[in-house]
Symmetry: C2
């Protein structure tokens, strides 16, 4: 399995990243230490750090900056999740209660801010303006993606193109930044940096699209959230966007009402419309296309074990059931 | 009046900062443009930018970086206010409805994140690691201060010293950073940078302490919030900390219950205890001490019109009724 392949390949590096993360979360303020550690330990797959680490090793990078920067990327991601869960009033993520489910929404808003700030401070300590430009631009797009998604909430008329902008901003951009940083700290030529950035970007889009499929098609036990989360939040994603464009009148009506009002009651007819229109298959196809672009982008990069693992990760991303 | 003196002295610079702020808030995402502009226009006094601008002029600074950096400081401050108001479920600030009062709490969480990210991106574009170190450290302390304040909520046993740490982190640190940046971009010697930082720090503490007094003693019309806000939020501040230490049994009981439970019902007996123990006078005295330290810190700096205005601002801060 690709994730385990990456994990065993990156074993020592991943442990170094976890140590870096824990150093960044040290605080004499108990509420920070408690929540930050809870969220960071709640079973994240560390995908973004793995992309950065594997790419740095592919380039034969020999320093320690990749550990710090991978920790920074994971912190940015974690801060976003904390705020996202507050905004969605989400009760579960990765089969465990969210921070807001346990402590209410006040502390996660402020501890999320601390994570952002700590990530900034740590990337500044790396003292490389190029790195800072990449990460600050990514953070800005991440924030824009979150607002854009909120703006699209309860709007059944979001077009596929608008939706792809959300996916790009809220997910692809940080994968892209993680990949790009590996090329930058390894001082690789511009063409290789762009190729790797393309890998990260397309991997990120594929990853998010599959996430969106699983929200309608996973078995809840594997998935760690309950099904129909997006529908309940009134969040249009590619499965509902495609189904809305191709369903019969009854199916369209179900999707529109589900997104506009409280969606949970409409999960069954919406899932039926998604099934009849092949919307999951369509979304998986778009994701597969992205995964294959990601793999193609690797072609000009050093042909190492790590490159193979990155290619396998792209395949895993679209093949996964969780 | 000191604020108007500063405003007229800094007229063109302040307008340049406002233009810089508006450039930073430009977005093709309507929800960002709407909320960010609403909050930034909601009558903030631009005190932190004014400190930076006046100090830069005192040093004869001739570039344009002070405009961008003052805009960045105001953005960081504004982002913090947005999240603070969400956490407190505050309905009014500066006599206008808060963003969460108008749009609910979801958008302000995410637009606040955008402001942080945009501020960070803009300071990176300034390309000076020293500046980035100062601002990222300040942002981290700001976030810590907010969490610390939340942690102290409903705790009547917060000591004066603990409280001063909150004030330092949530208010003084950003004033200090604003002041310090003026010395850094003007390439002044370390001793002058430290003197100016001391000015900003003490000004910030004084400013916050007076804010805390006004919450119990202002006339609501001037103040722009309703009285007893801190009590209602269970937020111990120097007036209640001092009163608790010096009140009779009945007064102590009122303060304890007000902070531990819902405070609004206890406002009258708490105000009576504050009055009997001279807690407002005590807090104003501590603030005056800080303001005079702030003024003393200016002694070794260039004796210009701007230095006089900075000294007057310290006096205004402790003399104000709003």
């Amino acid at each position: 399995m690709a994730i385990e392949q990456l994990q065993s390949l990156l074993g020592e590096d991943l442990r170094a990243v976890d140590r870096a993360i824990h150093r960044l979360l040290e605080s004499d303020i108990p509420l920070i230490a408690l929540l930050a550690n809870y969220v960071i330990e709640s079973g994240g797959k560390r995908l973004r750090p793995m992309v950065l680490l594997a790419a740095a090793r592919m380039f034969g990078y020999r320093g320690h900056r990749h550990h710090t920067l991978a920790a920074v990327v994971e912190l940015l991601h974690t801060a976003t999740l904390m705020h996202d869960d507050v905004v969605d009033a989400a009760q579960q993520r990765r089969a465990t209660p969210t921070a807001n489910a346990l402590w209410g929404s006040q502390a996660p808003v402020l501890v999320g801010d601390f994570l952002f700030a700590r990530a900034f401070q740590s990337m500044v300590a790396d003292r490389d303006i190029r790195v800072l430009e990449i990460l600050s631009a990514a953070t800005r797009e991440l924030a824009e993606g979150e607002v854009l998604q909120l703006q699209n909430t309860h709007d059944p008329d979001v077009a596929e193109e608008d939706y792809l902008r959300v996916v790009t901003a809220k997910t692809a951009v940080l994968f892209e930044a993680a990949a790009r940083l590996a090329a930058v700290i390894s001082e690789r030529p511009q063409a290789e940096e762009e190729a790797l950035a393309r890998y990260g970007h397309n991997l990120g889009v594929a990853f998010q699209l599959i996430d969106d499929c699983l929200d309608y098609s996973a078995t809840a036990a594997d998935w760690g959230k309950h099904l129909g989360n997006d529908l309940e939040e009134g969040n249009p994603t590619l499965p509902t966007i495609h189904a809305l464009a191709h369903a019969d009148k009854q199916g369209r009506e179900a999707i529109r009402r589900a997104l506009a009002e409280e969606g949970a009651a409409w999960l069954d007819p919406v899932r039926a419309a998604i099934e009849r229109t092949g919307a999951i298959e369509y979304t998986r196809e778009v994701a597969s296309q992205r995964a294959s672009w990601a793999k193609q982008a690797l072609a000009t990069l050093p042909d190492t074990e790590e490159r193979q693992a990155l290619a396998a990760a792209a395949e895993f991303t679209v093949g996964r059931d969780f």
